[in-house]
Symmetry: C2
Subunit: 450 residues, 2 copies
């Protein structure tokens, strides 16, 4: 009689639960235990701004599956259990429950899926009531409750990335006067400046006040809660402050155990999600991955990537031979009616790679010009000189603009050229597109620059 | 001093005018004359249903550029001038103006862009007032005027393809009681039956009565206009009848001159748009092309393809070295809120090619399930067994569904596999997609069938 192997998963969100679920489907005998530090598992972190904004009315709607759903799959899920350390030699972890004694548990295979956390500036006052950063669903629920119960009137958001923009929209939907402070000359630093300027404009259109080229130096408090944000030369009054200042991988637990760390402290894995340490795997926002355009290591924290990594880890943990080839840096968001998307490399990244590249920006309409509701769309496209290989794209425009980035993402996956995109048989009908899809119009213009 | 070369273009719509315009841009000395049989040039034929439906209020909005716009580009445009014959040996065409004497004109290069015309069933009564088929913008304008001035109450549409569906929606927007007669068991015969059934359902949802498995045997008239459509076993009363029974290429003029014809009588061209006859070119709805999935000759009549072909012809006519690699059979339309799209091969086409293939159909949502406004989407996906190469896709669903076909079209262009699509870094945020885009969910399911 064989003794069943034991899998321990650290972290119960997208990557961890996808892996557990896949592993179970392929291997009925595997003993699977998930330790999750927080109260929730398997939740849609990306949905938190819509909870705060009131588009979603119950945090439970953001929970895809509950522990009991996994228990039925014979996956043991222990929430409010924090793994404090990993002993690689002993193949064990030490676990601290919220209530009760710490204990150790051994594993045959260990999957680290500890996610990411907000990257916060080094200023004082971050713990002041009324100051928030979105760490996990509990923090999202806390912000949601604050907004509903404390009825803040003036919010300051720090950081103009995806989270900052989505939170700005959410707070405007709640009727809160909102100022967004961003260090760069335009929001969305992952876009080139002229495209970032369109994102800045979209924020202004929904009534957000922008303070660009500024950064907080401190938080002020009064009567036990936040009163304002101090910038270099002024203070912004605020009864709500939200940080959207990016994320960093939770790689420390792995690093302290001796698992090698890479880009920004993320856990080094190969395409099968194995770390260099035997029987230790990592997936999701804590893990490093490969940029498919540059071929170099990179790090992203995105639910869709975490799901894919988790699935690959789970298949392999159950004896499969799956691999995850990496990311393109695709991302999308919306501010009011304006959709913002990117994939591949931006100009700064092209230059950083030492690539000889050309880029163009074109303006077009989302539908046939005569069709009612046609909106503006701006497409920026990058390609390598010489090879004409597509390198990246950015899109900002009205409804129907953003998901056009997917066709370019597919081109990047296939290593296609500008001419391939010009020639491509994309879907056309007046309610959907001009005769030449705007990404193809950009490709036509770019082809003359190469 | 060199004598300038003379280009004659037959046909002044998408392909002909694109070619003329491109050729002019590259070669200022070329003498360019366009002969167009009808009154309009450079119009958006695909926009006619929206004119009829009242979403577009002026036929001029469908005209992209007028003859005088081209005259300014030094392109001579003669409307209401029909080319009656081509003399290949003499390198000349004989032209019949609507008013005046026929004349002959010689060319150095000839581009045939005579387009396509409705394919009508062989029944009597087609010329009865109140019976329409969309041939060119003039016929669209005539239908538009009939609908506005004669106020028809009961319409019958013959044919459940793209034009039939779009006309059905247009007439319903006008409040006209509409019956659609279609020969097959479901509308949209270019989809597999289960997807066609969803398109049939979409028509019923906008109040169209469907008669499937039926076909007209005659048109009845009373008091000088149409009174009904006779089917095998019943007669449908109607004061408006519209045929949407497909199209056929206008290849006869070329064929009579000795230019070889191919699929369905379309003009054979290579990827540069040259026919096998020296100095004779063809482009647009009258020309044959290549299916990029099968590598075989095919024929499609679509504005977007005509534009691409025309551009390539124009570049080459001016001494360039462009080529058009062919089509994927991509198409898209909308009925009410339901979007319908396809690319690549359907099941019947896969079987016809003798391909060993697998297919799946999945149901999903267009956005994160918790996001307000998430609509249903059904994706059908095909791949070759063994190689796992993607072969085609069909999508039917609510707003945001249809243009997802473009990512699959890009995959087909790149020859990508099911696994490539599963792994692909497509754009995700709750207002745009579930964590796994529906086309990727289809790919995941399909990967287990291969």
């Amino acid at each position: 009689m064989s003794i069943s192997r034991r899998l321990i998963v650290i972290g119960g969100d997208a990557a961890g639960m996808s892996a557990a679920s896949q592993a179970r489907r392929r291997d009925a005998a595997l003993e699977i235990t998930v330790y999750e530090r927080g109260r929730y598992i398997s939740y849609a972190a990306c949905g938190m701004p819509y909870l705060v904004g009131g588009l979603v009315n119950d945090p439970q709607q953001l929970v895809a599956r509950r522990p009991e759903d996994f228990e039925r799959q014979n996956i043991r899920v222990l929430t409010q259990h924090e793994v404090m350390s990993i002993d690689i030699a002993a193949q064990s972890v030490s676990v601290q429950p919220l209530k009760g004694e710490a204990f150790a548990e051994t594993y045959d295979e260990l999957l680290i899926a500890t996610g990411a956390r907000p990257a916060l500036p080094d200023i004082s006052g971050l713990e002041t009531p009324g100051v928030f950063a979105l760490r996990d669903l509990s923090s999202g629920v806390a912000l949601w409750e604050y907004v509903r119960l404390q009825s803040p009137r003036r919010a300051v958001i720090i950081g103009g990335g995806y989270v900052g923009l989505e939170m700005a929209e959410a707070l405007r939907l709640r009727g809160i006067e909102t100022t967004l402070v961003h260090r760069g000359p335009q929001v969305m630093s992952s876009l080139d400046l002229e495209m970032g300027a369109l994102a800045s404009q979209a924020l202004r259109e929904i009534g957000v006040e922008l303070l660009l080229g500024q950064w907080p130096v401190g938080i002020t408090a009064a009567r036990g809660r936040v009163a304002g944000v101090a910038l270099a030369e002024q203070e912004l009054p605020a009864d709500l402050v939200v940080f959207g200042t990016g994320a960093r991988p939770n790689g420390e637990l792995a690093g302290q155990a001796g698992v090698p760390l890479g880009v920004r402290g993320s856990i080094i894995v190969d395409s099968t999600m194995r770390t260099p340490v035997p029987h230790v795997w990592a997936a999701g926002d804590c893990a490093q991955t490969t940029h498919r355009v540059t071929g170099r290591p990179t790090w992203v924290a995105l639910g869709t990537v975490a799901n894919k990594m988790g699935r690959v880890a789970g298949l392999n943990l159950a004896g499969g031979a799956a691999s995850f080839p990496g990311v393109l840096g695709t991302a999308i968001t919306r501010v009011g009616e304006t959709e913002i998307a990117r994939t591949g490399l931006n100009g700064r990244e092209c230059a950083g790679e030492g690539l000889e590249y050309a880029s163009v920006t074109i303006q077009d309409r989302t539908m046939a010009g005569y069709y009612p509701g046609a909106a503006r769309i701006t497409v920026r496209l990058y390609a390598e000189k010489g090879s004409a290989r597509l390198l990246g794209a950015q899109i900002v425009g009205g409804p129907g603009s953003g998901k056009r980035i997917d066709a370019v993402a597919a081109c990047l996956t296939g290593g296609l050229t500008v001419q391939d995109l010009v020639d491509m048989d994309l879907a056309y009908a007046p309610p959907f597109s001009p005769v030449w899809d705007p990404v193809q119009t950009a490709a036509r213009v770019l082809s003359s620059e190469l």
